[in-house]
Symmetry: C2
Subunit: 119 residues, 2 copies
């Protein structure tokens, strides 16, 4: 893995389960101490439906805002917020209609599995 690279040098890939949602691998699984960093960019009004992941998320909101559902609660989330989503907890994102939503998401290198959950 390069020592330094800018996010603009790294491809953004569409997240098929989401709407107007792209994901970028900032660091690579297996390159370090068992975790890696991704950046998610959601366009205005985009988001992800209710789902679970096999792996924990530790997130930091970079820009914009969203309504984020975690378990049975709904939170209004904005830049500078730290979000912790334990493994297996259902969650969803509804990005701000004007600004969209952008966040870092750090996960363990363990294999992930995403499962959509009925509302």
């Amino acid at each position: 893995m390069p020592v330094i690279r800018n996010r603009n040098q790294i491809p953004l890939e569409d997240v098929s389960a989401g709407s107007k949602t792209q994901r970028q691998s900032l660091t690579e699984p297996g390159s370090g101490a068992g975790f890696h960093m991704r950046r998610f960019v959601m366009g205005p009004g985009g988001g992800m439906p209710r789902h679970t992941n096999a792996v924990e998320h530790q997130q930091y909101v970079l820009r914009g805002g969203a309504e984020v559902g975690i378990g049975d609660e709904t939170h209004q989330v904005t830049a500078g917020d730290v979000v912790h989503i334990p493994a297996g907890v259902p969650h969803w994102y509804d990005a701000d209609e004007d600004e969209g939503f952008e966040f870092l998401c750090v996960v363990p290198d363990d294999e992930d599995r995403i499962e959509l959950v009925d509302e």
Copy 2:
């Protein structure tokens, strides 16, 4: 650990080995899958002298800029850059004189040890 909190709710602590450098624990060691997130804020002209850590760093630059030395190389680093510092590699930070430097730093929960290294 709370599901959501803003960085403004979390104390910033001075880093004694640094100059105009503060550190904030965004997530807590032991709370998740073996890693945690910190935020560093360096004032204009601040920084950290050449040192090693026992643990890897995966970093994302939030704001400002710095000259960062990693091993024998010096890099100009700015917002949106991803920086990977393997465990044990000497590194240092010299924050921008006008803007300072702010970055996220994700580390494994393993015990760290910082050692200053002669230039």
